[in-house]
């Protein structure tokens, strides 16, 4: 009907229809300008043609004209609501805006009109997997497979959909049906990468089915001939065998892995121990996923017989096989006892010192294991390290080396080998790290001085000295020391970055930027480059630096940058949905999906989110701080001072304005230059809000709530998540959420001082909250006593006080918290409460220059009443840490 054509619904005449096809082709080939030209030709004749309008809009969108694009596509769609093309284009436009839910709706609309359009079905399935609409994904993939069953990708995608929706048997049978469609002799059935990956994926799914290791093991044998990833094949086999309790057979598999050259993989050594000790399936499972140098021997305390057994078999079976393997030499350190242990560690240290291994100290520190709940954990606190027999043994040995080296340049009098001069250097270095591990910074620094006299060009020593100075409480000196080391070799990126980090921690962000800029791209703004490189560690340190300076806007801005990176990481998976299936890297693909599902549980994200929450809470608690940057507190000044301050502020403001103006001009000029010089080049991004003013204008509690909720969802096992959640909830008056957060945190780490402080705070605060619903009150009265272990608040505080007093190793942060609680509940006088910290504070765990500073803040808080305690504390701390800076 001619009317339809006028309205833009009619199919175009042949000539224009061909033109339209070319428009689509140009779009696909990314020849956008040509496409628009042709679209305009059609539109000249049929100005209302919906599909052409939509296509033109889509093409414009690729030329960064987002608004025009939206208008055109919408117009096109309005003109032709019955066209699947228009709906599809509408979906694509939303997709490019990352507005996936809208895009899914549009695609579904398009499919109503053209239910068998493969292109749209494929696009829809990608969005569904991206949004994790797994059931929808399965349905769409099934439709695609029915439409086109002769494509491999469609089978694999459907199998993946089955797996993701939890139908593991279904996934296996889809793969089997697919394999059944192949004619015998097809290359897809031969040994090769793709068939190998598919077989290993099938095996992976089989093993996921509960109690199905036998079938998985049989399948591994059956598919051996096609598998090229032999390492993974052997690992899988050993895993299945161990789960089935076939320890003897498993050992053969492990030995095959060693023969293949996997001798440096500690997980394989761990599997070997599982076989020798015939461990239960559950322990084996845990033993195979340990990180670093972890093995069964460092996971659980073994009995002497068990150690003997493993050692005997290691000596007999593995030693001859891998005489030169570093891992095989290190593993016995975790098995031997008594004199044999001493000899082994002696030899290990001597060898590494002669070689010059800077990481020897931290390598050895993983041997300081203590038993907790029948599991081994690393001793980290200086108190625990100092009392550890292995630590004491190593110190004794190293002191012996030093004495002997100085006299006869040998590690010991009965040693034959004359040592090179660098052995002395590295032995001093190791001794310094040992001092550091127990917090003896001054002693360690004396040794690093000796090192630098001996070899002033040793970069590693500057690094160690820097971290010693930092531990000793003088971050400025630490940063300076690293800078000296950095100057030795300005091409060393590692020390350059480390210097940057220390500069930030010393609040010298300007110098830090100069340092790191040496290694960013040299054109453009380095800050922008670092953002583009997603240099998260730098942004986190910088944000923390601004937080210390209470420049909340800039601080939030940097944290927001990190959050943006994570959003980008999430976005980045989009390309993998089709790529991984096409390349048949299905195992890696499931890893990617799993990673993305837990993306916001990553530690770096947690740091950023907590930083944001704390910044907003600080702004909420003292709203003035956000403004303080602009307006000093005039009220507290004398008139003369006020006048001066105001004049200064005016001057400052003027200077800032001038600077901003000249910067803007420069940017403008640069932009013009860019455009004149090279039109294709995208104009450099100019940040119009470098100080994060926009972020400061948001409602602080709302924002904090948003991030706390995300942490609760993605990092529920992180202690600090619940602390943040509590801090936010209590300020929002959400008593029940606060209570829940406390209960959760209390399960994760009942001994933390942070939880204790908050329990006390909560118990004091919630009875005063008014206007609570009666059911809320009921829950509170029934649940909150659990926090105080059924005691009254006073009893609870008294009990904890008693507990801390009687435990000679109770941590300093806990003592601080207890003292504060006693004062807050008026259980004790201020001096009485503070005596706990002053008298025993430096003797227990958790003592560092940081926690000493926290204690100092406590004393300052109580003013005159705490004056005596304060000066005594300062004296004691200065005796322990003579180098501590600005501790008054």
């Amino acid at each position: 009907k001619p009317g339809d054509l006028a309205l833009g619904r009619q199919p175009l005449p042949k000539k224009e229809a061909d033109l339209f096809k070319t428009v689509v082709k140009h779009y696909e080939m990314k020849k956008y300008k040509k496409g628009i030209k042709l679209a305009d030709t059609i539109l000249k004749k049929f100005p209302n043609h919906g599909e052409t309008l939509a296509m033109k809009g889509l093409t414009l969108n690729c030329l960064q004209k987002r608004e025009d694009a939206h208008a055109l596509v919408k117009k096109g769609l309005m003109n032709d609501m019955r066209s699947h093309v228009c709906w599809h284009v509408y979906g694509l436009l939303h997709r490019s805006d990352r507005n996936y839910n809208e895009a899914i709706k549009a695609y579904k609309q398009a499919l109503k009109i053209d239910p068998e359009n493969l292109q749209i079905l494929r696009d829809l399935s990608l969005l569904q997997i991206q949004m994790r609409d797994l059931d929808g994904f399965a349905v769409t993939r099934h439709t695609i497979l029915t439409l086109k069953p002769n494509t491999k990708m469609n089978w694999l995608s459907f199998a993946m959909a089955k797996y993701l929706t939890g139908d593991l048997r279904g996934a296996v049978s889809v793969i089997d049906i697919y394999l059944g469609t192949l004619t015998p002799g097809s290359p897809e059935l031969e040994r090769g990468f793709e068939s190998s990956e598919l077989a290993m994926y099938r095996n992976f799914v089989l093993a996921r089915i509960p109690k199905n290791h036998m079938e998985a093991l049989d399948h591994l044998e059956a598919c051996k001939s096609v598998v090229v990833d032999e390492g993974a094949w052997l690992k899988g086999k050993a895993h299945h065998q161990l789960q089935l309790g076939m320890h003897k057979e498993a050992k053969e598999t492990v030995l095959a892995m060693f023969r293949r050259g996997m001798t440096e993989d500690y997980a394989v050594h761990s599997a070997y121990m599982c076989c020798v000790l015939e461990l239960d399936p559950e322990s084996c499972e845990r033993a195979l996923v340990l990180k670093g140098t972890g093995t069964v021997a460092t996971m659980i305390p073994l009995t002497s017989e068990q150690k003997q057994k493993v050692w005997a078999s290691h000596k007999e079976e593995l030693r001859p096989m891998m005489a030169r393997s570093p891992a095989a030499q290190r593993v016995p350190l975790t098995l031997l006892e008594g004199d044999e242990f001493r000899k082994a560690i002696d030899a290990y240290c001597q060898k590494s010192l002669a070689k010059g291994v800077p990481s020897l100290g931290s390598d050895l520190s993983s041997l300081y294991l203590i038993v907790k709940n029948n599991l081994f954990v690393r001793a980290l606190d200086p108190v625990d390290v100092a009392s550890h027999p292995t630590y004491q043994l190593i110190v004794e040995l190293v002191d012996g080396y030093l004495e002997s080296l100085k006299k006869i340049t040998k590690f010991s009098p009965d040693n034959e080998n004359e040592q090179s001069p660098s052995s002395l250097l590295w032995t001093w270095y190791l001794r310094a790290t040992l001092h550091q591990q127990v917090g003896e910074f001054s002693e360690a620094l004396k040794l690093t001085e000796l090192c630098l006299e001996h070899t002033p060009t040793a970069v590693d020593v500057y690094e160690l000295q820097g971290s010693l100075l930092k531990g000793a409480g003088d971050i400025d000196a630490a940063a300076e020391c690293l800078d000296k080391g950095r100057e030795l070799d300005k091409q060393d990126r590692y020390i350059n970055n480390l210097t940057t980090k220390y500069m930030l921690q010393a609040n010298k962000n300007d110098i830090a930027l100069q340092r790191i800029s040496l290694f960013t791209r040299h054109e453009g703004n380095p800050e922008q480059n670092l953002f583009d490189m997603q240099c998260t560690w730098y942004e986190l340190e910088l944000a923390a630096c601004f937080a210390r300076k209470q420049e909340w806007g800039k601080c939030l801005k940097k944290y927001a940058a990190v959050v943006k990176h994570f959003d980008d990481f999430h976005e980045d998976q989009f390309d993998f949905h089709s790529y991984c299936i096409r390349k048949v890297t299905l195992r890696a693909y499931t890893d990617v999906l799993d990673f993305e599902d837990h993306l916001w549980g990553q530690p770096f994200y947690g740091v950023a989110a907590e930083g944001i929450i704390n910044a907003y809470l600080a702004i909420f608690d003292t709203p003035a701080t956000a403004m303080a940057e602009a307006e000093p507190d005039y009220a507290s000044m004398t008139p003369a001072e006020r006048k001066k301050a105001k004049a200064q502020a005016r001057k400052k403001k003027k200077a800032l304005e001038k600077k901003a103006m000249s910067q803007a001009e420069e940017a403008k000029k640069k932009n013009e230059d860019d455009q004149n010089g090279n039109k294709k080049k995208v104009a450099s991004v100019v940040d119009d809000d470098p100080n994060g003013e926009a972020l400061l204008k948001l409602d602080p509690l709302e924002e904090a709530k948003k991030y706390a909720a995300r942490l609760v969802k993605y990092s529920p096992k992180r202690f600090s998540t619940w602390i943040c959640q509590y801090d936010v909830s209590i300020r929002r008056g959400k008593v029940l959420m606060a209570l829940q957060a406390l209960l959760k945190a209390n399960v994760l780490d009942p001994e933390s001082s942070e939880i204790f402080t908050r329990i006390v705070e909560f118990s004091q605060k919630y009875p005063k909250v008014e206007g609570l619903h009666s059911t809320v009150k009921e829950v509170l009265t029934s649940e909150s006593p659990a926090l105080l272990e059924g005691k009254s608040l006073a009893e609870y505080v008294a009990k904890t006080t008693e507990h801390v007093r009687s435990d000679s190793l109770a941590s300093l942060p806990m003592k601080i918290a207890v003292a504060e609680a006693n004062i807050a509940t008026q259980s004790q006088s201020v001096p009485e409460a503070l005596s706990l910290v002053v008298d025993t504070g430096l003797k227990g765990r958790g003592v560092s220059t940081d926690s000493c500073r926290t204690a100092l803040q406590l004393f300052k808080k109580y003013g005159d009443e705490a004056a005596e305690a304060k000066s005594e504390w300062i004296a004691k701390v200065k005796e322990r840490y003579p180098l501590i800076a600005s501790f008054e």
Partner: protein, 157 residues
Amino acid sequence: TKQTTKQLRKLNAACFPVSYNENYYREVVKRQNDDLNKFAYWNGFVIGAVCTRVEPIPESTNNRSRLYIMTLGVLAAYRGRNVGTKLIGSILEYFESNRNVGELTTVDEIVLHVQTSNDDAIRFYTTRFGFEQGEMVENYYRRIDPPHCYVLSKKLR
């Protein structure tokens, strides 16, 4: 290179009683002759260095020149291990294999100044490499005692 001059400075400061100023290092970098200026590494760290330049023979009329060893230093802890010998040896070797190439074609001798009291150094050059002890230059150094030095030299052709 420019990036590592600080290492040379540290090394020289630890080895010599005299300190060299900024200009000295700038000159070494500018000449960029990796064969005449070398670091000695021990287990990854710089522990010794030699800096040499080609300069015209003073008061000579026929455009002849000489190799002049400006500094040779090895950290105290690493002496007696032939590091210095290797450094000087590498300079001499470089000369031998390039004696008729570029600026080395006019070089006749290799020369250095040594403090009169530095017996070890004098013995090092004369016995190991056959340098000859020449005239004494009085008051060559300004801030150290004794301020005099000898000229050691060896004919190269």
